[in-house]
Symmetry: C2
Subunit: 406 residues, 2 copies
């Protein structure tokens, strides 16, 4: 049976953990009301709902978290057909079901609460707290026209709810990483020269299917498979006519979804004995591994993400390579790219993410790469969880290529 979905008892446990954290988080950011407004979330999901709602909705729905003094009040306003699902969860103080339209019930509820701020799920910088669509924002502006000047971004709340993983979540991500390595090990025994990238990917897909796992990202690009010295790593589909070659490398970028949580690891193989490894590849791999070690050594709560990226980036440049054209690492959770604080450079495309501060319970990838002159690219990707004083690897970090024909 399928192991890719979060089992209901675990989902309920995580929902309770997140609801328990919420009052403290809302107080910390001085937001008295958080409003999630969504419809047809199978088509257009607001991924923040995974943590505090836990199921899809069909009709326009409002989920309201309101803090006053020491109390939190949690209200769901949903279409009649979604109401029983919400009532059965037991996480709402009140479930209001409507037949025709949400307008009257939503306006009356907000008027009664009269919050100072209304935090909505939009963000210019952070995709993971940007689940409110523009159309739904306009709908909300119409319904709550008298409250428009109280609208603020809910990004601070969503970031913490999502990023700071509970023990249950960390356990699941760790399991996903272990299972990913299990598959890597198993496929390693089947690798040989003259195999096409699409062929190799198909073997990974078969393992994933047989074990009932899901994909951390789009299946066609997962795992990314890059054979030989001429393939540029990145989000490029495996090719039918590109083959593994004696004396050259194979690279994958692979993540599974297990019980709703993701892994994201990169590994490399070399077709030949360790003693045959070209000096250039050895130097490149040593550089990548040392960059990972240096970054991991400095990760701890309170430091901004870009400072970690800088350590790895400058080390790689100091070793004579061009800098990698992406961030050093991103958070991982229910998605491979989980948003929030990131270990990235201060480039416009990463917005505010790299300026955010690392906190305990966050899970990051560390994934530098370098390009050699004659033997292609070298990359490795590990995953760490932030502890109170530093970070820990979620699976044993690799120390080298995996040698085929050793």
């Amino acid at each position: 049976m399928s192991n890719s979905y979060l089992p209901i008892p675990l989902k309920e446990k995580i929902l309770r953990e997140k609801h328990d954290q919420l009052p403290q988080i809302m107080r910390k950011f001085n937001i008295d009301c958080w409003l999630i407004f969504a419809r047809e979330t199978s088509t257009t999901p607001d991924s923040a709902m995974n943590f505090v709602v836990g199921s899809d909705v069909v009709a326009q729905s409002a989920f309201i978290f309101f803090i006053k003094k020491d109390e939190i009040r949690k209200i769901a306003i949903v279409g009649n057909f979604d109401a029983e699902t919400e009532r059965n969860k037991g996480i709402w103080d009140e479930v209001i079901a409507y037949d025709l339209g949400i307008e009257a019930a939503l306006l009356a509820t907000i008027q009664a609460l009269n919050p100072e701020k209304i935090a909505l799920n939009y963000s210019l910088d952070d995709y993971s707290s940007d689940g409110l669509t523009h159309g739904m924002f306009l709908v909300l502006e119409n319904i709550l026209s008298e409250f428009q000047d109280r609208f603020v971004s809910a990004q601070p709340i969503v970031n913490v709810i999502r990023s700071n993983k509970s023990e249950t979540e960390i356990g699941l991500i760790k399991e996903a990483c272990q299972l990913t390595e299990e598959i890597n090990e198993k496929i390693s025994t089947t690798l040989d020269i003259g195999q096409s990238e699409t062929d190799i990917q198909a073997r990974f897909h078969e393992e994933i299917h047989n074990r009932g796992f899901g994909f951390s990202w789009q299946r066609e690009q997962n795992p990314a498979i890059d054979a030989g010295k001429d393939k540029d790593f990145g989000h490029v589909l495996p090719q039918e006519d590109n083959f593994t070659v004696e004396g050259q490398t194979l690279h994958n970028d692979f993540g599974i979804k297990y019980h709703g949580y993701c892994s994201d690891l990169q590994r490399m193989w070399f077709f030949g004995k360790k003693t045959d490894l070209p000096e250039e590849l050895k130097h490149a791999m040593d550089t990548v591994l040392e960059a990972i070690r240096r970054a991991a050594k400095r990760i701890r709560p309170g430091i901004q993400g870009y400072k970690i990226d800088k350590i790895a980036r400058e080390y790689i440049i100091s070793c004579g390579y061009e800098e990698y054209k992406h961030g050093l690492g991103h958070q991982v959770g229910i998605m491979a790219h989980d948003g929030g604080c990131m270990l990235g450079p201060l480039w416009p495309r990463y917005g505010n993410g790299p300026k955010q501060v690392i906190e305990e319970g966050q899970v990051f990838t560390i994934e530098p790469n370098v390009k050699t002159k004659n033997h292609g690219m070298v990359s490795m990707e590990e995953m760490v969880v932030v502890t109170s004083t530093g970070c820990e690897f979620l699976v044993k970090p690799r120390k080298d290529f995996i040698y085929i024909h050793e």
Copy 2:
């Protein structure tokens, strides 16, 4: 292996079919530029991208379709790591890759094209053409500040691109329906009294897994399983402690995803002989079936959706039942709820959908239900495709309950 994903050759075929339709659609609605603006679409998908882009993106990306005189120009502006994927597709006239931020390339491109309108994927009424997030809208407003007054909703384009299915798409949906009925038939042979709803759902899940299908909507609610006279149909989870009973009904609402396209059918079983069926259930089923027949008979291109809903709704009321508290039917495609024109009443929560006009190639459900006084609810759901003169059922419509212990 997995059969839930659209195989690449079929995906490429559908992309070509949609790209071919596009100039005509854009001209019809007098829109010279359609701009899709998205990032990290694994987390926050813009579902319209399925039809004209065909893969996920990571960094901020702009997909531009521009019509001038008889020519269409198609430009993708993507982060460097997404560029090769786009180039390999062969559907873009130009792929612009950026390293740091999209701002300069996007502004320069729009300045050069200087379109009269810039259609964006937002809609107050229609969730399926509302894929642009509010945060990304604000980003775009900043980048294209000098063009803000040219922004319009792309809903008319997205609706037609998505709704008016190509032959390839209709073929896939039909197959999904047939496979759904195959599973219904198979599970029918295992049904008996004293079985719990969760138990029955688990058998459906096993079939789906073994055949490598996906789910049309959230797995926990798919199929919905409703046993006995006291269960209110709707999006309610199956219960462990609710059992099938002799002389009572079982209902499911079940949809699979096969090669990327969905089914959505409701069926009902009766535990007993046909001669044991209570008169009340017989009357209710006859009413539902006749409502479906009357609606299907009137579906044709050019008629507004709400008029079809009205036919079924008024017929049901005329038979002495309360009206159903939802729309008569919705479109089906890559999602079970596929947006656009719908067969629904003119209630606020359905927005503009029911006012839209039915067109050839659209696929609809027809799903009225009624509530009996003593024997619970009765429902049935069929799927039809609109032809040039009317509509055709995608699988043979059911004529009755399926009798267990006949």
